[in-house]
Subunit: 332 residues, 2 copies
DNA sequence: AATCGTTTTGCAACCGGTTGCAAAACCTCC
DNA sequence: GGAGGTTTTGCAACCGGTTGCAAAACGATT
């Protein structure tokens, strides 16, 4: 059925090593030999078994791509770019869906069984614990969109969520809002916590501004809508920093359905700058997260780690910026 | 570094076969032996190498998940469900991004090199040719969201796009529209072609209704918006069947920006019933595609094929239905 | 033609498992 | 305690490759 090295060797009348060598670059083979082998391989339709070779080389070129964000539209772009980028570098993404997992144990075991060369954890909500579990199993790991830290235990590529919280707060202050609110994603997510910390720390410097906060159940449209509907039952703030864009869009829909309107009565600023944020009907003012750069950098880091597994862990933090659209009133 | 069978065997003072058997279910091992081995394995932190074993068993439990739809939000749900479903059955998805590929050659070779047990092609736009290429390489394949056919050459799970086209046409007729339009996705996509065929064939029975058609460049918001803006420059139809929901949403945004309004002046019916279609601010009338069922069925079929590789190809077609929301005017 | 250095080749062991087969161990029954 | 049947175990070969090493082939030089 499937053609093996041995058969090619027999047909070409050479040793198995010779065949192996023609398919390993950097190996010593004469031109004559190479031609003979390639001919036989072509005739038989041979292509080497990557897994068998991984046994001796210790390299599978498989990269575990681990995530639990299968509901946030930005992750489609994330998967698109990761898969493309890995493929371009001759690496294969083994996708792991962690949506329902609460401990890393099983995934670590599974990815070890498949001898992945490395793991990319792509999630802004998973605790650092997950990435660490891979490191402890001696699997090179980079945590994309992970919690930044000045003393990271694993490689982290992402943004400074605390700073983003501050940035949002500064933007609301600058626009002259007097009552502002933080409407976070799920409280357990590290990104929520950090954005919250940043937002509140900046607001602490503005005692004259009344600041409130609450958390939605998830980073989702419905959760954002529900939470905003709840807030609208009493006197809402004049502007909210929402945990992310999809949450913001949910909140906007709630405002649309109410007696209030955006940005006249209530302002919204989101975070991510996902594609939909620029849809004309949404037109969301938001903080841009440089997703493309984060992913490229993650891949580069991964590739580097394959050569130098014990690289000293580093945090690569990319700056964010406010994208002004139509959901905040102009500065006075 | 990584613990092997041999080390466990030595520590337990038994043969390598014994260790292998304790980790293979259905193999003959005494309780005493099993306990001894499991203890040693636990002490050493052993877990078997799935790839090494695949060499002899011929099973990798890897499933190629091939797609080129990394821009349509419904595919996030598709990936979510496929990965979950495969994982639950102890299969591992190897993700392949075909966005920029035009021929199946390279992917087939790659997936063969990794000895995948099967391939799921998840795409409504790839030509049947792609799925066939895998079959010809003797890899079990199911084409999810593929073009249905009464004489399929590979397993296909999806909807009857021709019938969907008819269904949309009937719906517009029923509502009493006198000038209707088909605004398709990219003309090369099989789903576009079939929906077009169905739509036009139904309209052919209604000569009194004026029917026009055009195609957008992609299944995307921007493409839909651009195409609708173009249509609005001359006299638009009273209602359009748009290639899919994301296209519809783009079209809606164009209408919003124009002097017309939806559903008063122009009606829209989409296809897919993606999550956003029910967002309050969108509220799109659309044809529901039973994605969940299609994926579950695809996975079941895949699993069945792993046991019976030469199953006779079948097409599993799921019925669709119109979901009435707010973008078509009521029937007179 | 012999010598020497370099390149190419094949042998054989190995990577981490599985499995058919025969021997060993265990049970049951008389 | 021994015969006969069943279960468990280990041996050794194998899966499809890679690779260190030494022998073979080659090429240049004298």
């Amino acid at each position: 059925m499937v053609v093996t090295l041995k058969e090619v060797a027999e047909r070409a009348g050479v040793s198995r090593s010779a065949v192996s060598r023609t398919f390993t670059d950097g190996a010593s083979v004469s031109d004559k030999m190479r031609r003979k082998v390639e001919k036989a391989a072509r005739d038989l339709g041979y292509s080497p078994n990557a897994l068998a070779s991984s046994l001796t080389t210790g390299r599978t070129k498989l990269i575990g791509l681990v995530s639990n964000n299968f509901h946030n539209p930005i992750f489609l772009q994330v998967f698109d770019q990761f898969t493309k980028g890995l493929q371009e570098r001759d690496l294969r993404p083994l996708l792991v869906n962690l949506s329902s997992e609460t401990n890393p144990e099983a995934s670590v075991r599974m990815l070890r069984q498949y001898s992945v060369d490395g793991v990319v954890v792509a999630s802004s909500t998973l605790p650092p614990l997950f990435a660490k579990a891979f490191r402890e199993a001696d699997i090179p790991v980079v945590h994309s969109f992970g919690r930044s830290s000045s003393a990271p235990e694993v490689h982290v590529v992402g943004i400074d969520n605390v700073e983003c919280g501050r940035m949002a707060a500064r933007e609301l202050v600058r626009r002259g809002y007097k009552r502002v609110g933080f409407m976070g994603g799920p409280e357990a997510a590290t990104s929520t916590q950090d954005r919250f910390t940043g937002f509140m720390s900046e607001m602490a410097a503005h005692k004259e501004i009344q600041t409130s906060y609450s958390f939605a159940q998830a980073y989702s449209y419905q959760a954002g809508r529900r939470e905003m509907l709840r807030l609208l039952k009493t006197t809402p703030a004049e502007a909210y920093f929402c945990g992310d864009d999809v949450l913001s869009i949910g909140a906007l829909s709630a405002i649309d359905d109410s007696a209030y309107s955006c940005p006249q009565d209530i302002g919204i600023i989101g975070l991510n700058d996902m594609e939909m944020a620029q849809w004309e009907s949404i037109n969301l003012t938001t903080i841009h997260q440089p997703i493309r750069e984060i992913i490229n950098s993650s891949i580069e880091l991964m590739v580097a780690m394959l050569d130098t597994p014990n690289r000293y862990p580093e945090a690569r933090i990319f700056p964010c910026s406010v994208i002004e659209r139509g959901t905040l009133r102009p500065a006075p």
